[in-house]
């Protein structure tokens, strides 16, 4: 075990994957000798050579197009998009190509070896082009997996699993936690399961669901609620696609209440999918409406970032509303 922050855990996972399998290649804007603007790819070029860790020209559609071809050839690309906000030029390559490659070819070819890493999320005074949480934009795309870790331990285990999973994975890193989240991380190789939510703590009155950096927020809110005698079950969804309906529904069957928190705008956010599914599957168990505590339906603002954020206070208030419904 070693103490690592989230960036170090990711760097460590990449080193582990590249050591283990020489087909693994890491590339993107500034990821080469510089090691990435957040330094997640530090030292990889030195360690594994320019052929396996390199800068690309500044073109997200090109990065993913290139990565798709490379994956279909049998290599194992780990492509970085510098900010989640800049993934949209690659949207076509991801949604129309990566995701449909295997299906359209009847399984003859696939991009199963592809992993796309990108930092996402706000709380860093980044305004609307350095703060977006675009997971829901991708979650409507059969063929993709979407994975989001909440801390360094999760990050290493989930990233290794993503790289090795035989499906293309969009791996979204909560950049607010890059240096802020520090924890024990095994130095050896390990994987955490994709498609599985984790019940972080058990409770009986309400289920709180989030992912990534918002896990801290719901945990804080749960503590506040605890003081009011409200017992919260806390779940980290971890995989947005495919998501773990079973674990979430089992929890809601028990608690009768569900609150989902995400940073992205409310309308069309992934919480809507969760709410729609859970109300259908747990209908007769619901004691109160499923509640979404999310970003406002505006571009991510700068001066009013704090107000925009679905923080622990908003979450706490919503918990009380649910329980007292």
């Amino acid at each position: 075990m070693a103490k690592m922050n989230l960036l170090q855990a990711i760097n460590n996972a990449l080193i582990t994957a590249m050591t283990d399998d020489e087909r693994v290649m890491v590339f993107g804007e500034d990821v080469g000798h510089f090691g990435g603007v957040f330094r997640a790819t530090s030292n990889l070029q030195e360690k594994f050579g320019r052929g396996r860790c390199f800068n690309t020209p500044l073109t997200e559609q090109g990065i993913i197009g290139f990565a798709n071809g490379l994956a279909s050839q049998g290599s194992v690309p780990v492509a970085e998009i510098q900010f989640g906000d800049y993934i949209f030029p690659a949207f076509d390559q991801i949604v129309n190509e990566t995701a449909k490659w295997r299906y359209r070819s009847g399984g003859q070819f696939s991009c199963g070896t592809l992993t796309i890493r990108t930092p996402y999320g706000g709380g860093i005074a980044g305004g609307h082009y350095h703060s977006q949480s675009p997971e829901a934009y991708f979650a409507h795309t059969p063929g993709l997996k979407i994975v989001i870790p909440r801390n360094p331990y999760q990050a290493k285990g989930l990233l290794l699993a993503s790289i090795r999973d035989d499906n293309p994975v969009l791996f979204m890193e909560p950049k607010r936690l890059y240096r802020a989240s520090v924890g024990e991380v095994p130095e050896e190789d390990y994987e955490l399961p994709l498609g599985k939510a984790e019940v972080v703590s058990e409770g009986s009155d309400i289920t709180l669901l989030a992912w990534g950096a918002q896990m801290e927020i719901i945990e804080k809110a749960a503590e506040m609620a605890q003081n009011d005698g409200i017992s919260c079950e806390i779940i980290d969804l971890r995989s947005i696609l495919p998501w773990d309906v079973e674990t979430v529904c089992a929890s809601v069957m028990k608690t009768g209440r569900l609150l989902i928190n995400h940073e992205a705008p409310l309308t069309g956010g992934f919480a809507s999918e969760v709410a729609a599914t859970v109300q259908e599957r747990c209908f007769l168990h619901l004691e109160s409406p499923i509640t979404r505590v999310c970003g406002l339906d505006t571009p991510y603002p700068l001066a009013h970032e704090k107000e925009y954020m679905p923080d622990h206070l908003k979450t706490y208030e919503a918990i009380k509303r649910c329980v007292n419904f």
Binding site: R52, P57, Q61, N68, Y103, R104, G106, Q108
Partner: protein
């Protein structure tokens, strides 16, 4: 850290030089004259009779296939078709210059490459009837071929997407130490997509052994080349990427063959991309959904019909004494019959079982897809 100087190659001038069209001449390689006779000063590539006839027969084959399938579409037997009439030399000539290990990533009008690689009539039919025998499992529209065993990547409709993909594929081949390249076909229309820019630039910077083969056939559906770009074709862009570039007469199969051979050699030896622009003409309608009389004259088509690449090559073959006209006619007729027979046979093959609807979305169907299939089957059984 070594010092970098991005101006090291730049000369200084003291009055403004405007770089513009016409500054450089990008000539078009042509080896055979319209009547099949080689240009006096031309050196033809080494080619044996067998290869030459395979090329010729493949051109004839796709011409026949196109005719038959257009007819089949008119009869409502298939939903869609897209012919390459007039462009057979570009695709067959380039395919002939490759090795089987080379990956082909095509746009959609390159049935000539596939036929040259050995894709059978049955395989063509399976694809177009979207049946259970087709490796793509009937999931895509007609003409979206794919054949892993032939190193032919499954076609995808969105234009231009295969261009950066080809760069990536070629990079992977290089890293794996293979003695192989990737060839990527696209039209002059698709070359307007952002992916074209990304793909060529990345290939140049990352030293990918890939041939970018542009079929400049004058049209993108109804849009003429003059409304597609204002430069000197697609070849003039090669310079901007620092990519070695050859322009070739796309209706002269010998020129296409020679240029592609040379391009392959360069790509492998120097680990770099090469751009080929084949100047040709889409004699066919864009597809069976299209009617070109809405946007071009019969007269214009007629002028190009006279440049028929098949006839030109036939003349040369005859001059070599390698082709007998009567035998050729008989062979074409036989091909027609064969295509028709296969068509009739294959159209009866059923489509995949319904269970296939959820396969290949992921490596294995996750529980939610299994559930959706169960519900679907329960519904169907009602």
């Amino acid at each position: 850290m070594k010092d970098r100087n991005h101006l090291s190659r730049v000369n200084v001038s003291h009055s403004a030089t405007i770089i513009e069209n016409g500054l450089i001449d990008i000539p078009m390689l042509q080896l055979l004259q319209a009547d099949g006779t080689p240009h006096k000063d031309a050196t033809l590539p080494d080619i044996d009779k067998e290869t030459a006839l395979k090329m010729y027969n493949t051109m004839q084959y796709v011409r026949v296939l196109d005719e038959r399938m257009i007819a089949a579409q008119r009869q409502g037997r298939i939903s869609f078709y897209l012919a390459c009439t007039g462009e057979e030399a570009s695709t067959v000539g380039s395919a002939a210059a490759l090795q089987d290990v080379d990956m082909i990533m095509s746009q959609y009008r390159e049935q000539g490459t596939l036929a040259y690689r050995g894709y059978t009539t049955e395989q063509f039919m399976n694809q177009m009837f979207s049946n259970e025998k087709e490796p793509n499992k009937g999931r895509q529209m007609p003409i979206h071929y794919g054949a892993k065993e032939l190193n032919f990547m499954t076609i995808s409709s969105p234009l231009g997407t295969q261009i950066p993909q080809a760069s990536g594929y070629a990079y992977g081949q290089k890293m794996a130490g293979q003695e192989a390249i990737t060839i990527c076909y696209f039209g002059e229309g698709a070359a307007s997509e952002g992916d074209f820019h990304a793909g060529l630039n990345m290939a140049a910077v990352l030293n990918c052994p890939v041939i970018f083969f542009c079929r400049n056939n004058g049209y993108a559906i109804s849009t003429p080349a003059e409304e597609q770009f204002a430069g000197d074709g697609i070849a003039s862009r090669g310079l901007g990427y620092g990519i070695k570039t050859i322009r070739v007469d796309g209706n002269d199969i010998m020129a296409v063959y020679a240029a592609t051979q040379q391009a392959r050699k360069i790509a492998l030896a120097e680990n770099c991309p090469v751009l080929i622009e084949a100047m040709t003409y889409r004699l066919a309608a864009h597809s069976t959904s299209d009617d070109p009389t809405g946007y071009r004259s019969k007269d214009e088509e007629e002028k190009w019909r006279e440049k028929d690449p098949i006839r030109r090559f036939a003349s040369w073959l005859q001059q070599q004494g390698w082709l007998d006209e009567a035998a050729d006619q008989a062979h074409v007729e036989q091909t027609r019959q064969e295509v028709l027979t296969e068509l009739k046979r294959v159209e009866k093959v059923p489509v995949c079982v319904i269970d296939e609807i959820i396969e290949d979305v992921y490596d294995t169907p996750p529980w939610h897809l299994q559930e959706q299939l169960r519900e679907l089957k329960a519904h169907i059984s009602k």
